[in-house]
Each structure stands twice: as C-alpha cells, then as structure tokens.
Symmetry: C2
Subunit: 331 residues, 2 copies
C-alpha cells in the first residue's frame, strides 16, 4: 500500500476478517482454491455480479448493507433460477482510503448475510483498486439436474407474475438523492423505502416454487419494464401488463398517490430484487398457493402473447404507457 | 456512460464480444446464470483472482496479453490443485476511457486463451469501474473426488520441486520498467523475459501428474521464496533450498551472470506461474518421468524438514541467503 501508516498484509486481513466466514471445502482460506462437492444428481448454477462504490451504492452506505447488497444481488439471481445457494467467492478491490474499521464492519455484515442465506464464503481475492472500491461476487447454487428455470422460455398465454412489491428501491434511491421529494411520507415510510434500496432481500424461499411452476423467470434488477422486455426479447413473444396491477408497498403507494408521475419510476427503476416469472394460466392458483405457503406474496400482472415488440404497460385508461426510460442501466 | 459519443449498451457489448465465447450451459449469455453439470464422481475446484490496471499489468499492455494474464493466473491455480478446467466467469469493470477497439482485442485474446485451455466463458458481469479497469475471473475446474492437491500437506523428508524456470517474469518486469538494465542481453533474451511477464503459461499439463505424485502443491505467483514460506507456514515444517539448483532460463541465467544481485530478484519476484510442489523422495524419479512425459520439466531444489521458521535458501558458499524482500505483494 502506498503512503500512510503501515497496514496489515493481504494474508493477515484474510486470516482476521474472512477466514471466520469460510465454509467447508474452503480450508479456512489457507489454500489457493476451494473444493465443492455438488449434491448427486444436481446441476450447479453460477452467477457473477459486482457492485462499485459510487455506481451501485453510495460510498458512505453502512458497510454491512454494502456487503448485504453485494451478496444479495447474486443470491437474487440464484433464487430466480430456482437454485439453492451452496457458496460464493469474493473479489474485493479496495480503494486507497480503506480502513480496518470499514473492513471489519463489511466482513461482519457479509458473514451475517452468508449465514442467513446458508451461503458460505469459499474463496476469493483481495486487491488494491485503481480507484473506487469494487466488490465482485460469484455465487454458486444447485438445482436437481435439468430443473434450472430459464429466462427466455415463456409461452404465449402464460401469465406474467411478480413477487413482493415493485418500485420501493427506486423510490428509496430518489429519496436518498433528494430528501425534499418525500412529500407527505412519514418517517416509517421513508425508512421502508430507503431500506429496500440498501438491503436487497433475495427471494430464495421462492426458488423451489419456481422450479415447480414457472415456465420462465428472472430477477428484477434493472426495472420491471426493462427486465420484462429482456425476458421476451428474441422469443417472438410480447406481453401486456396492467400497470395498476403491479403491486406497490404502502409506502410506495402513498408516494405515487402524492405524485402520480412517480409511478413510472416505480415501474422502470432498478434494484427491486423481486422475481419476475411466467406461469401457465391453469397453474396460476396452485402457484399462488405454493408461493404463499413459502411466505412470498406473488401477483399476476399481465399476459404473454405471440408478437414482436416491447411489452405494453396499460394505464387505467386502457391506453399504453410510454416510459421516458424503459430500464435503469448500472453500466 | 458519462460524456463522449454514445456507446453500446452492456447488453449489446455482451452480445457482440462475449457471447461468441460462451460455453455449453451458458446459453449464449442470454440468461442471468449458467448451468454446469460436474462429471460424476468429481469435486469442483474453485478459484478467483483479479488483475487491476496499473497494479498487476500496465494499462498499455496488449489487450490480448491482459486477457491471457487474467485467465492464466486463475488456470495456474487450478493446475496446482491438480484440476482440469471446466469454465470461468468474468467480472469486467471498465475504466471511463475504454474503447470498443480495446474491448474487441481483449475479447479476442480471451477467446483464444479460453479455447487453448479448454475453459469456456460461462457468465459474468460488465460494470463501470470507479477508476482503473479491473478484470476478475472465477475459474472452475474438477478433480476425481477427494484428489484435489492441497497446499499445506507436505511431509518432512519430501523433496521440494518446481516446474519450468523461475524469475523470468520478475526480470521481464524489471526490464520493462528500466530498459537500461538489460546489460548484455540480446533482443531474443529480452523478448523472452518480457513475454514471460506478459503471458503466464498455466501448467495445466502437469495437473494429473500432481494428483498422482505431489504431497502438496501451489503455484508460484508471489515469488518462489515467499510462496514456499506460505506453503509451510503453520505446518511445523521448514525447508532447505539450494539456490543454485533453482532452474533459470538461458535469458535469466545470462542476466544473473551479468549482475549477480539479480539472482535475489529471480528467487523472490512474482508472476512466475510455475508449480511449486513437494514429492516423497522415493517417488521423485517417477514424478520426473511422468512430468517429462507430460512435456513439463521439473527439478528438485530442496528438502522439507521438521522445524519452525522460514525456509532457508543456501548460497553456493553453503551459507543462508538473506532476501531484502521475501515475497512480492500485489496488494
């Protein structure tokens, strides 16, 4: 490291902060690689997503929420594919101004998230960033062989469904950037929206339900409208969605009631980390029941149809809504 | 992206440059996750290493060599563990000044390396870096169940062996930083050293031989002296190495003959990506034969012994060598 007080070596940092998080097969992070024995008759499901300070999170976000986000966005992908987590690898590129206090809080938060979701640390790399801190995670999950839920396999006639509520994180981010925008929202509502931006809640409980019922699925990370367009792109399918059917939380509902123009932000903003999936109409009731039994509310918001072109979101007047920006891009 | 001419979206970049590299199970990178079915009766071996512009490589290095390094340093870890590559995930964080020409050359080089080593792209993430470009790779390999070669499992009496030649990359880096240092080296010798720094050659051919013969192994990435110390740390073992027995290439041999002080750099500099392993003395001849049959020269350079303390490198005078810096740290 250049300048300042001497700091611990990479090896010492790993031993102090990350070795306690190591799962079976990681040998306390003392080796250069980890072993993982997949369950017999299972396929592995692999995903990699990185978050960058100043791009995907605010540098002054609480370190434990940054850790929860870095891991959570990957677990959300596993959940959408119907997979159960097995472990993850971490690439941590630290900005020159990192402190041991930050790192200790980050590792604590990472350990808590990993524990909560049954996804132990298997290995990784710690390097000096040439600028902002970057946290890269590769997450590994598994599914019974041949059952990974794909993204582009919907059929005409399938119902389009989403889990939980949509738009909270985008509104939370807006609130963070412009506190005056809160309007009539009380502290609880503001807190709820802010928290959805800070701490994704990967819908892992829904994974086995998706394997049984979903014809296609993905997580909503770049905005519902844009992600639904991605799901159907190149498949010869489109969809019609009733914008009013998209589930909003009480806080988001109040914000949109105050300022109807925020509804577009809710439908196109990113960081929801809910599940977007398609289900054959005759299986919709059973899907809803199974999801409820798993503790996850789901709602049908539209229908897949043969045809080209982006999915259409219909307003309460029955007319298509035009979005200024269909998808949030982190890139 | 901020400023400048409009650039392709992340999705378009992936489709153009990376989808052609996608292996089976990656579905042309059109999904959010990849499937991997491990061979029956095999364990997966997982490793993650990142390279950062200005830290691990020069920003003006040829893009194809940067790609070869990013993948190669990970494949070198798999080789040392006795594993055959199955695929990799890529986290590409691009500095604000990236160009499509650079990206096209990088992707071409990555594809060539992946093809050469039988390690297809399975997925990944492309993000905006908050500074220098970072390339993170998570590589997956496999070994017959229970046969991963560990790092800290040497025994007293084992011989310490290395593959290939040591010190070339460190000398190549020195030459890059200070061309005047070349002394009497001719162009071929300079080129050979420079190339060893630019393009790691993962010793994958040695992987099955290590599984049969090595009691412990790791790759040499942070300098032979430091990595041998890591291998034995906490095991109650130390080692004695004959410094003159450490194999040098003709070019490195000439450089050291010109300037004997460079021998320390060769023994402690990083980026060798050779294999360091221990072998029971009665199996040494068979190990050498099997390695030769695999096309990889190996040489015994020392012996493991019970005891604490860092390994000792003996000079030709029979006295321990003291190194100013035992290991190169990228951190």
């Amino acid at each position: 490291m250049s300048g300042g007080a001497p700091r611990a070596s990479e090896e010492a940092l790993i031993a102090r902060y990350f070795a306690p998080l190591a799962g079976e097969g990681a040998d306390g992070l003392r080796d250069d690689a980890a072993r993982l024995t997949p369950s017999p008759g299972h396929d592995l499901v692999l995903t990699a997503d990185a978050v960058v300070a100043g791009v995907h999170y605010f540098p002054d976000d609480p370190p434990d929420s940054i850790a929860a986000k870095a891991l959570g966005v990957n677990l959300s992908d596993l959940a959408a594919k119907g997979a159960a987590p097995r472990g993850f690898l971490l690439t941590l590129a630290l900005a020159p101004d990192w402190s041991e206090d930050w790192l200790a809080a980050f590792a604590r938060g990472l350990g808590e998230s990993a524990e909560r979701h049954g996804c132990p640390l298997l290995g990784g790399d710690t390097v000096k960033a040439g600028g902002a801190t970057l946290i890269g995670v590769t997450a590994l999950g598994e599914v019974p062989a041949g059952t990974m839920v794909r993204r582009t396999t919907a059929s005409a006639g399938d119902r389009v469904c989403v889990s939980g509520t949509i738009g909270d994180a985008a509104l939370g981010l807006r609130l963070r950037r412009d506190p005056a925008f809160a309007g009539s929202l009380d502290d609880d509502a503001r807190g709820a929206l802010a928290d959805r931006y800070l701490r994704p809640r990967p819908r892992l409980a829904l994974a086995p339900v998706l394997r049984r019922f979903a014809s296609a699925a993905m997580d909503v990370s770049d905005g519902l409208a844009g992600d639904l367009a991605k799901m159907l792109k190149g498949t010869g399918l489109t969809a019609t969605v009733e914008a009013a059917a998209v589930p909003l939380s009480p806080a988001a509902g109040r914000a949109v009631a105050d300022r109807p123009d925020l509804h577009d932000l809710a439908l196109t903003g990113g960081d929801d980390y809910e599940i977007l999936c398609t289900v054959a109409p005759e299986r919709l009731d059973a899907f809803r029941e199974a999801a409820a039994a798993a503790g996850v509310p789901v709602r049908a918001i539209g229908t897949v149809a043969a045809g080209e072109g982006a999915p259409v979101f219909l307003g309460t007047d029955g007319r298509p809504r035009a979005f200024a920006s269909a998808a949030f891009s982190h890139f």
